[in-house]
Subunit: 344 residues, 5 copies
């Protein structure tokens, strides 16, 4: 579920509102970084102990030379640039994906406004169209989100959940047998548009405008589902992700050696250096760079299991309930028209 | 309320127009930064006094070593990069949010042009549709802005303000009882579209085009409200904000030590250094980096209480008044058609 | 008026086409930067003279220490990053504002194609609609451009210019009395849409499509005017502008001291340094950074008085003339249909 | 075929999900970089051997001087900046191209909903329209993708594949004879729109709205094909690509010399340097920079033969099958309307 | 004419596909940079000869001091940042301009589908509308492209080319006499829309939808022409271009001195430096930075005479021929409807 904190940063007073965000655990950098951090510190102190306790003077010299080499050349790795550009792309895609999530509200408003009749026929038509939209959307979500897939592992689970009826399932199975290669999220949309066309013929829809509006909207809905699948299918190119990951990890592999406190550092340089045992600033760097990479890791698939990921199962329930509310309970029912208090 | 200064920078003459902007207090960097600045300076001078007065020679050497360490390694923190990319994202979202704010003018123009009748029925219809739009918008604003929430803490306050009638409130309460989990800002929009459909049936609207236009516009209006809620709900990922905040604060934590004026600085380096007591350039850096972070802090939630935040309460009043003006007082009333002065 | 130079850079031959752009004065960097440059050079040479002529040896040492300090630490100011990101935002907004400028051509084409009749009534209708558009646009421009405000300081000046008739002015005054708080640029648009609706009733417009098209276009026109006002009202946040301005000016305040030619520079460093009297490279830096800032200063309000600003007064005249031409003189008048020369 | 890995990075747990991506071969950086890497290492070790074994002392000094020169000046090449900006542009275009790929689903939905009749005539009309869309799309793909070109080298291959009938091929040949200069992907679209117009006349389409919708959609489809061709025709300017390529390759040409382990390095500098034989960090740099460049190389033409390229042949088959399914088998056939399980 | 190379980079195999792009001349960096390069090298070697041959020891010391000064301070010029941001803006505008180029295909498809009649009248109407579009487009192109201006220096040349008839020219001349100040590219569009309106009245167009569609499309076409003119008129602000140009040229002015090989370089620094006579890395830098600037120079006006510029004359011919083909020869003519090979 999304970690929301906008309410806490509504005003920037005193020492600023971002400071208090540092003391959160859910969705935080600490929660994401700690395993890597432990590995880093473990290796660091092992090597540190090796250097201080085990090695003889000769070996210490070699150790120091390697450490100096790592220290000098580690900065050649252009880590902040590559991370900055990469994270920009990932964040851009992340928000585009959110904006592509289909909501059924538009269709529900149009269906409620256009398809008439409080009788059973009218109600079945309106409810079925909305159910088909939710079905199409959920079929799409099972393809991109492991959590929704877990909830609906097969078509039978759709039937159980009431999104699909038994006779409809048979048709989908039939089509799947004929042509198994491609996804079928468009089937319920086709059904819905057939129902709309029939409703027009049977006079449940008053005018051609409404037919066009609903079918356009259904088609847009299908397009958004398809776009989500495209985002899932075509990730940021693997090469780019690998380049960035390699850069960050090799940077810190070098830093494990390079940030060791040496008894005898580079000659004539900073021989007054203090030995703090813990490499404070390297740890800070670890938080920044590794945290930046984790930003990318948790955003690259916004529909997964991370704290900050969007909960599509919630959306399935919400869309179904709200669209039934709109097209059935609230249908064509508005409060009595009365003069407001400024009537003059 | 937004701090507007475009009028003062309309021309870039003499020493430039930005210089005079430096002498403003409302919405300024000084107002945002000063508490942090005092904290920074306080700590700095405490440590400075400690070093100059309290410590003995031996301890001074340790202090100097720590200071040198902070000075050398503080620059490893990639603060300007990370801030640049982060602020870019925040500024982008900030402007997108402004553009998502729904204005009722479009709907009012369409309603005024399409729904006929100067009789009471016609007026009630037009006014009620606009009131429902304002109601939906205000319900949305209470979810994203603490200031609007304060003004309308409950549905009763909507009734008091005249945005909601008593019988309408009961319906909303009823729906809330049935399904409490999700927001209900779409209810007034559904009502409005029902009124439009009925007005068409009763002949108050001349043609089907107008129905489609108004319902499309109502739906767009609802979509914009929904988008604002999404922006509020799905912030810039917490991890990213934490990484940036950590970077800036730890940078200046290091700078408190690193910018101390040492009696005996790094051997052979800049032993001719002067002691200015106040670390002038570190202060300037503090203004830049901390100010940059404060830009992000005040923009990350543009509907809060900051000087630079957008006043949604003002918009509620403005939209209600202007839409009543358009659909009621100005309705279907244009000045007599006369020849203009270039008539030839 | 915009400084246009695209014609001069149509081809990149010889030493390139940008070189010759360096020798222009209007809208140039030199014109914008010279006052600041004089101030900078004046202060620089005053201090230089002080150092070379007035100070004794002891004081010279202090001067040199301060100069070294400025030289060493001045580079800590992250000026190019902060300028790069800031100018990107300003340039983006600048072009978005140009694209939001409303042109009346679309409406004129639709009005000319849809509203029939060469008789006086038809002509008055078409001309009045276009006049109202120009009126609304000009009212909007007076709010964002000091130059247009100067030309039309009050509604009387609109009447004088023929954009507004006396009876129309009275209605606007009336509305202003009732509700003074908000701008009224939408009034002429409401009038225009009322005229369109009446024209349809009176049969001057053939079909409902045309009504919808014109009213949509009028509404879009109003939306663009509103967007321009938003851009004017909600500037780039003041904090951001202050941060950037502070960065640039304090950088050069430090550079005045830091780029002095010292008799006895940093020990052991570059004691072979030559004394050129004029700090050539600091001057170049001044051109780059200060010029970059001036880019932002002149673009942040694109409708002001700068050389590079857009002349909205010109647009007022152009739109009025061209729309009258389209809807009146050219109305429904096309050359005789003849076979072209490739007829086969 | 696209290398998809989103499923593997759905959650960021433990050491993070990007680490495991490092151990993939298909579409990986290793697969792209290894030939260049071998060349680099080969040259490096040849020179290394030359230096250590062949050269005499005098020559060694010269070698060392050249190496020092390369080491010092190699860093002047602004490689990460230029790569960052260039890759941003390429990645932006890459995704824009994916979004421009035309899918036939929209047209199929509209055709299925609008064109009536289960008789042979109706079916032929619907199938032919879809076939023409697929034909136009495939003709477009042969122009931009070598793989599709290989599959359909001539019009005869279209006939063989069933996308084109013999009599249609003759018409295209005829037009090609008259006007050979320009591509003809719009011909099938013109045919399709003629069929739609005729279907309306013959009453196969119920209303004018549907005609407009389908023709708009056909036109949009043609526009997307045209856009793809534009992207193919107008690449990122050659100069930019050359500048970036030159930068990367000359950087590593310098690095071959500059990263040699010298017996006697720069005097007084880091004479305690260790000799690791393999220049570890230069190799890492090679992976980053060269990998970054390869990202650009494989994305600059997303329809080529790279592992990460999009398989347009697959799309040809998919679009043909799915659109036949939609307009023929599924046409106007929806499951019986039944009450759902929440009916109340 | 555009330099297209996408076909050569379709797959990234072996040493990568960008390497072979380095060996092209047309539209290449070498072709753009060589005059500046010769100037640079000429000056460099003149100064080099002066230093080595002419100057006495005393003067050599001064030369060396100046050279050191240039070398030390030249790096203060923030050239890569400023170039990166500037080129981003220019490349963005370049592609936006390509996307704004109007193509007549959409209008032709709509005209062909909507305006009926194989008789002479119908053909003349369709052909004339398309001719007017091409005329308007070409008039627009003469304003932005020197090459098109050369081909059509006056209205008489339009008549000669068959785009304009004699009687039409007289009308334009007439309007030009009345109102000379503004461009007239909208006149043919007004004519075309008048013809469409008349065709509807005379029954050549079946329904109102088609009228609206064509007039909308004509208006969009006019809008795109207007946008192209705006891009031409409002360039990237002159100040920005000057700042970037100054930065690059002054950088290399400093580099001419700073990269001289000195007999006696900075004391104690790199006195083991080798004398290569040619400043290899400065030359490479020259290629990168100057090449980057040339990217901007050749893209800032994409309709000029550069190798990489878009050939608008070609487009004039193409649009005229293809639109005649669509609306005349191919009009309402589709192959006989036949069953395809998968009919089942």
């Amino acid at each position: 579920m999304t970690v929301s904190y906008t309410g806490e940063v509504s005003t920037c007073k005193g020492f600023g509102c971002f400071l208090k965000l540092l003391f959160r655990w859910r969705g935080s950098i600490y929660k994401l970084v700690w395993p890597d951090l432990f590995l880093f510190l473990g290796t660091f102190f092992s090597l540190s102990t090796l250097y201080r306790v085990v090695l003889d003077e000769e070996q210490k010299r070699v150790f120091e030379k390697i450490s100096n080499y790592c220290r000098n050349y580690g900065n050649l790795i252009p880590i902040s640039f590559i991370l900055g550009f990469y994270v920009s792309i990932v964040v851009g895609r992340w928000w585009d994906q959110y904006k592509s999530i289909p909501w059924t509200d538009s269709i529900a408003v149009f269906v409620s406004a256009s398809i008439q009749g409080q009788d059973e026929k009218g109600r079945v038509i309106r409810r079925t169209i909305m159910r088909y939209c939710c079905l199409s959307m959920t079929m799409c979500f099972t393809m991109i989100s492991p959590r929704v897939k877990k909830r609906f592992p097969s078509l039978d689970h759709f039937v159980e959940a009431g999104l699909l009826l038994e006779n409809e399932k048979e048709i989908i199975d039939e089509v799947n047998r004929k042509c198994a290669a491609y996804h079928k999220i468009w089937i319920p949309i086709i059904w819905a548009s057939s129902i709309v066309t029939r409703a027009r013929k049977e006079g449940k829809i008053r005018d051609d405008f409404a037919v066009k509006t609903i079918i356009d909207e259904l088609n847009k809905f299908r397009g958004q589902c398809g776009l989500l699948i495209s985002y899932d299918w075509i990730s940021v190119p693997l090469v780019y992700t690998q380049v960035v990951t390699l850069a960050v990890y090799s940077y810190f592999a070098a830093a494990i050696m390079g940030s060791q406190w040496l008894v005898k550092p580079l000659k004539g340089d900073n021989d007054e250096e203090i030995d703090l045992i813990i490499p404070v600033f390297t740890l800070l760097q670890f938080f920044f760079y590794m945290g930046w990479l984790k930003v990318a890791e948790s955003l690259v698939n916004p529909f997964g299991d991370d704290d900050d990921d969007f909960e599509l199962n919630w959306l399935v329930d919400r869309n179904l309930q709200v669209s039934y509310l709109i097209v059935d309970e609230m249908h064509h029912d508005h409060p009595e028209l009365m003069k407001d208090q400024w009537w003059g």
